[in-house]
């Protein structure tokens, strides 16, 4: 058997292992929410939603090398698309006509489509930008999306938001609570499968080439601009889908208080897991949601270590901690927290082993 055949066999085997592994893990993840209680289900749900966004961002940052500080914008667009379509686009008829708006399932399906469409429109000029210009531009996009939604009081409910009474129903089952979480994590598994398969394919190799050396890749005929745009749109679609589903998690439509912080949190999530790792992104999402939750608990306690906490304590704590996390990760683990820690442990072990041998 030639080495080429051997390699093809190995690749196929790896692929099977990977698919089986992800399917098994996803099955477990979908079963889990039914074993959880009350508030934990919501937390778990959020972890899944954010994981969706993080997976898309990993593809964008790790493989296209594009730093996006604006994924929160696509999340918001997705949420408002599904929400507004569900309650009815005409603000006057919302309160009176119970049949206003379309089927939630269609609305959720529309969410990633609309986000993707927006991404196509702004992606073409945006992806021409480099470094800090790109970072600011994506941030500006998120802020503009948020500002527009916030400013259009009548249409979007402005700062007061809109309550969504219709529930998401799939095949006759109501998707809320644990079943909603299961649906979300099922989609996370799907996203993982799609992304890892993409990366292993011929497209993926082209992407690796771009990430490593863009000018060289372009010179060898790779259509860099098109690949970047495709990844950007895919990431936007994932974020939009997450937002669309979020509406039926919260049953409420309102501008997330800090769209900037949300966008940056996604970056932190990806940085935790390591820039090129999808599983790492999921870990990152789980970690951040957990930390966020703990901080909020801490902040609303009223007193900490004997000090009286002001009412703004939750904000102070979360802003402070997340700011510090971003700084620390970028300073000491620019290639990702997990890879950095693993590398540090490995080199520590090597050094200890070496001294033991010589000692």
């Amino acid at each position: 058997m030639s080495t080429l055949d051997q390699r093809a066999r190995r690749n196929r085997r790896d692929a099977i292992v990977r698919v089986v592994g992800v399917v098994a893990a996803t099955a477990f993840a979908c079963w889990l929410p039914f074993q959880l209680e009350g508030g934990d289900i919501g937390l778990y749900d959020r972890m899944g939603l954010y994981a969706l966004v993080a997976i898309g961002l990993t593809l964008l940052m790790g493989f296209a090398g594009q730093v996006s500080l604006g994924q929160g914008g696509f999340f918001l667009i997705g949420a408002y698309t599904s929400g507004l379509l569900t309650v009815g686009l005409d603000p006057d008829s919302r309160l009176v006509d119970p049949d206003a708006g379309i089927d939630p399932v269609l609305a959720v399906v529309a969410a990633p489509i609309v986000s993707a469409a927006v991404a196509v429109v702004i992606g073409v000029p945006l992806l021409r930008l480099r470094g800090h210009y790109l970072a600011f531009a994506t941030l500006a996009f998120a802020l503009i999306a948020w500002s527009l939604l916030y400013a259009q009081d009548r249409f979007t409910g402005g700062q007061y938001g809109v309550t969504v009474t219709k529930r998401l129903e799939l095949f006759g089952h109501q998707m809320s609570g644990a079943s909603h979480a299961a649906l979300v994590w099922g989609l996370v598994g799907l996203a993982l499968l799609l992304s890892t398969t993409l990366v292993a394919s011929r497209v993926g190799r082209a992407l690796q080439a771009i990430a490593v050396n863009e000018p060289a890749a372009a010179a060898s005929g790779v259509n860099v601009a098109r690949y970047k745009l495709q990844l950007f749109v895919f990431a936007a679609a994932l974020a939009g889908l997450a937002g669309g589903l979020f509406t039926f998690y919260a049953q409420f439509l309102g501008p997330e208080d800090f769209v900037i912080v949300l966008s940056l949190l996604f970056v932190v999530m990806v940085s935790i897991g390591g820039l090129g790792s999808f599983y790492g992104a999921v870990i990152g999402a789980v970690t951040i949601v957990y930390v966020e939750h703990e901080l909020r608990e801490l902040g609303t306690r009223g007193s900490l270590l004997g000090w009286d906490l002001p009412p703004q304590a939750p904000s102070i704590l979360s802003l402070g901690v997340f700011g510090l996390m971003l700084i620390t990760i970028m300073l000491f683990f620019p290639h990702g927290l997990l890879p950095g820690l693993i590398g540090a442990i490995r080199s520590l072990r090597r050094r200890l082993g070496a001294s033991r041998r010589s000692g």
């Binding site: 400013a151 002001p310 703004q312 300073l331």
Partner: protein, 282 residues
């Protein structure tokens, strides 16, 4: 017609702050290659510290101390933002400054609360110029911006320290080789920029109260002004700041005050697109 000129006058004063922040961003960028996302924080810090200190001393002294404190804080920011030699890229530095900006919001919120703060202006009596009311505070801001522009340009072009700053960005490798310490240069750039921005904040607060969350808008507007100058031109940043301030006030006055931020963002995006046109995608 007086409404128009009134708006222009107010626009020039808010625009002066954008210009000051923009020029500060240019200074830091020219010296270090880093875009400091936390620059707006220095303006807020200047205003809030002045407010707190003014409870115990004269306003002028409070202002001066606030500028000094901010310069010191800026020094710390410099060390953190520059990061680890050889490991921290410019983009990573930008994201670090974003983290610093977020962390700073937490600190400011904790230290000063959420209520926007202000204090008395230079004078409460406005000059009446042909029906248009011009606050002395506006004039002070515009003057400071102008002086800063002149001062910075001379500094970067004529003094050895300024030239060392420019050299460090032109070629960090050669600058190091001839003996310049890049970290010290970054610190000086950040400290100067921080002090300048703080002055802007100190003068701004009487007309526009500042709070822990004001930093972001100020940074965005300042960045737009800086981009007008391609991140490297002091004079264009000054002009851009004034222009942006005026445009915003006109929109706020004639259309809708809610679109304040959106205008700034849209202008910034247009300028970014314009400035990037020379650089090809690959």
């Amino acid at each position: 017609m007086t409404t128009f000129f009134q708006l222009v006058v107010v626009g020039i004063s808010t625009g002066s702050v954008f210009a000051i922040v923009g020029m500060s961003l240019v200074l830091v960028y020219r010296a270090t290659g880093i875009v400091n996302f936390a620059q707006g924080v220095f303006a807020v810090l200047g205003g809030l510290v002045t407010y707190s200190l003014s409870q115990h001393m004269s306003l002028v002294l409070a202002g001066l101390l606030a500028v000094l404190v901010t310069a010191i804080v800026a020094t710390v920011v410099a060390v953190v933002a520059v990061g680890i030699r050889g490991r921290t890229t410019h983009l990573a530095s930008l994201i670090i400054t974003v983290g610093i900006a977020i962390f700073a919001e937490a600190v400011l919120l904790a230290a000063f609360g959420e209520v926007p703060r202000s204090y008395s202006a230079i004078s409460d009596r406005a000059w009446n110029v042909g029906g248009v009311l011009v606050q002395p505070q506006y004039a002070a801001l515009a003057l400071v911006a102008l002086l800063a522009a002149v001062g910075l340009t001379l500094f970067l072009r004529r003094t050895i320290v300024g030239q060392a700053l420019v050299a460090s960005a032109d070629s960090p490798r050669a600058a190091e080789l001839i003996g310049l310490n890049l970290r010290s240069i970054a610190v000086i750039a950040f400290a100067l920029a921080g002090a300048l921005t703080a002055i802007g904040g100190v003068l701004l607060a009487p007309t526009v109260p500042v709070s822990y969350s004001s930093g972001l808008t100020i940074t965005i507007n300042g960045f737009a002004a800086a981009v007008f100058g391609g991140l490297v031109s002091i004079r264009l940043a000054l002009l851009g700041g004034y222009a942006l301030g005026v445009v915003e006030q006109l929109v706020v006055g004639y259309i809708d005050p809610q679109y304040n931020l959106i205008i700034a963002l849209a202008v910034m995006l247009v300028l970014i697109g314009w400035r990037s046109r020379g650089e090809l995608a690959v």
